[in-house]
């Protein structure tokens, strides 16, 4: 179970205090498939950053399984991101001078896994996303859809509990976007918790639960609750 209660995130902009999150609460069990939707500036990205351990809430509580993530220090958050979270970004965020295999290895390097083991596992992950024959290609030698699949393989490298995807199809054409969505659905069906942030209604429609954001608050919550 992942749950957060009354999360607030405020920024000081000159004299004004701007609330990116004005107090949101939600809980969802393992294996959930959520889409978070809303216009830009509605707070959905801020929530993603807090859920992924890249940022801390100004107030409120974030419980991951039984761990209180909201009070971890920098190193604790780094470890949390490394072990629990897989990130997929709109712009892929692959390191251009590394091969696909080396990109997938990266989270395992920071986990302290031996070279031989992480090579094997990275190759396995690339095969899982259908890129077994592309492991020595560099990002620049691959199409956008292939790059996003490398990024998904990387997000799975340390066997995370939660996959966070921020507009994962935003930079892809609709057919490769559909392939990537199919991949998320497959991963979810294998038990992985997936949260998508999107403002594409078609993408959101494929999720089992859809949470709508506006002005830092949850304004809708539809679909399966478990």
């Amino acid at each position: 179970m992942i749950a957060f209660r009354d999360l607030k995130k405020t920024y000081q902009m000159g004299d004004e205090t701007v609330a990116a999150l004005a107090g949101v609460s939600l809980s969802f069990p393992r294996g959930s498939y959520l889409a978070i939707t809303g216009p830009s500036g509605s707070g959905k990205s801020t929530l993603m950053n807090i859920l992924g351990g890249l940022d801390r809430p100004t107030s409120g509580q974030y419980l991951f399984e039984d761990e209180d993530v909201s009070h971890l220090d920098d190193d604790g958050l780094a470890h949390f991101r490394n072990q629990r979270i897989g990130f997929v970004f709109q712009s892929f965020q692959l390191l251009p001078r590394y091969s696909a295999l080396q990109n997938v290895e990266l989270p395992m390097v920071y986990a302290g896994i031996e070279v031989k083991e992480r090579r094997e596992r990275a190759a396995e992950m690339l095969a899982k996303v259908g890129l077994a024959d592309r492991r020595h290609h560099r990002p620049t030698q691959m199409s956008g859809g292939q790059q996003q699949r490398v990024a998904i393989a990387r997000s799975l490298a340390n066997n995370p509990d939660l996959l966070l995807a921020d507009e994962p199809t935003g930079a892809l054409d609709s057919s490769t976007g559909k392939d990537v969505m199919a991949l998320f659905e497959q991963l979810n069906s294998e038990g992985l918790t997936v949260i998508l942030v999107t403002h594409d209604a078609n993408v959101a429609a494929r999720a089992r639960r859809r949470v709508g954001f506006r002005d830092g608050l949850i304004v809708s919550d539809e679909g399966a609750k478990s």
Binding site: N49, G52, L54, D55, D74, D75, A78, H79, R81, N82, Q83, F87, F89, Q93, L95, R97, Y98, L106, P107, V109, Y110, A111, G112, R154, N158
Partner: protein, 409 residues
């Protein structure tokens, strides 16, 4: 996170821009090469001066005429020669702890024998000269005091002169013409090789003082005057006392009143050695300091490029943090890059410095002297430069906010 992975990250980042990395290291290469070359030149100079001075003879005091003053106008040293053979005799008789006293005149002369010519140094000396200058006879004999007083025209020659004039033939008993006067060769000196000043010490002719004065250098050295008196103290402990006693004696003999300057100078080899050592040490430190400045400039170059690298790779840093890199992992990765750049420059600079020192030693017939601390010091110093100048960029990289960093274009 394993240290060999950190090294691998640093190496791959350096290898990604080979040209830029090479140029960045160049500053340190030049700095370290300069430090190594400068210290080796300084040390070589020191060794050369030391061997030159000690080659003159041990426990030696050299008395030579001082620049005389007429009114307030100082004249060149030796312009009015003031020391005499009688001074030398007085020193030998009255100063205690003296092993040898050798009054000397010298000149340059054209030598001729059996149709061959050679130009060499000729010194008019007494037999004590060999003792004072630590010379020995290799072949034949030295002339004695009686022969010298009789004004006999006989000579002892150095091995270079013997080779140039007589080739492989035995020079003993042969006649040589020194200027316009014939001298008979009675002995050949043992070879002493090159002096530290680069002078061939075997290119010399020694003749009895009276004969050489009257026949070879007569026009410049009048009466009983001599150009140099070499005094060998009996032991090192006697050296400074012999020097003082000689000075007192000569002032007395030359009727120099209290407060007046000496008209001669008595120099003790040990003190000359010390002074020149101090001078070359200062010189070496100065050279090394100048070279160290270029090393610092190299460090600033590294800092500059590391700051550029942090800016360029902001997204990479954000991504690394997102997948689990701790701030310390980022800090160490960038610090290692900086140290590796600097150390690589240091190693290359050390090799170039040693090569340059070898080349200078070869071209300038300079003793090859690379201080033993050159390698550890220059490598240690270049590592320190990388660490110091990489610290700020690395710290900046580690303080980045991952969210901001990932958003950067």
């Amino acid at each position: 996170m394993k240290s060999k992975d950190l090294l691998r990250f640093a190496a791959s980042a350096i290898a990604a821009h080979p040209m830029r990395s090479a140029l960045t290291s160049l500053g340190v290469v030049i700095g370290v090469a300069a430090v190594v070359m400068m210290t080796s030149i300084g040390l070589g100079a020191q060794q050369r001066v030391m061997s030159a001075i000690s080659g003159l003879g041990s426990n030696l005091i050299i008395v030579s005429p001082a620049a005389s003053r007429s009114g307030f106008a100082a004249q060149a040293a030796g312009s009015d020669i003031s020391i005499t053979g009688a001074d030398a005799e007085a020193i030998a008789k009255q100063v205690e702890g003296v092993a040898a006293v050798a009054p000397t005149v010298r000149g340059q002369a054209q030598l001729a024998a059996e149709g061959t010519n050679w130009n060499s140094r000729i010194e008019g000396v007494t037999p004590d000269y060999l003792v004072a200058r630590d010379l020995t006879i290799g072949q034949g004999r030295m002339f004695d005091d009686r022969e010298a007083r009789q004004g006999r025209t006989i000579a002892v020659i150095g091995t270079t002169v013997a080779r140039e004039l007589f080739g492989d033939a035995d020079p003993l008993g042969k006649r040589i013409r020194v200027g316009s006067s014939p001298f008979q060769v009675v002995g050949v000196l043992t070879s002493k090789g090159q002096s530290g000043f680069g002078q061939d010490q075997d290119d010399i002719v020694l003749g009895p003082l009276p004969a050489v004065r009257s026949r070879v250098v007569g026009r410049r050295v009048k009466g009983d005057t001599v150009q140099t008196i070499y005094i060998k103290a009996a032991s090192e402990d006697d050296l400074s006392r012999v020097q003082e006693d000689t000075t007192t004696l000569l002032r007395e003999r030359h009727r120099i009143r209290e407060g007046e300057d000496d008209d001669f100078q008595a120099q003790n080899m040990a003190s000359i050695l010390q002074a020149s050592q101090a001078a070359t040490a200062t010189f070496t430190i100065l050279l090394a300091a100048v070279a160290a400045v270029s090393l610092v400039v190299g460090g600033v170059g590294i800092m500059n490029i590391m700051l550029v690298a942090v800016t360029e790779r902001t997204r990479e840093i954000g991504l690394r943090m997102a997948v689990g890199a701790k701030r310390s992992d980022i800090l160490i990765q960038f610090a290692l890059e900086s140290v590796a750049l600097s150390l690589a420059g240091g190693i290359l600079g050390l090799l170039i410095g040693i090569g340059g020192a070898l080349l200078i030693a070869k071209l300038g017939s300079w003793p090859m002297a690379i201080p033993s601390w050159a390698a550890p010091l220059s490598l240690g110093f270049s590592m320190a430069v990388g660490l110091v100048f990489g610290a700020y960029p690395s710290w900046q990289a580690s303080r980045l906010d991952p969210i901001e960093a990932l958003r950067r274009e």
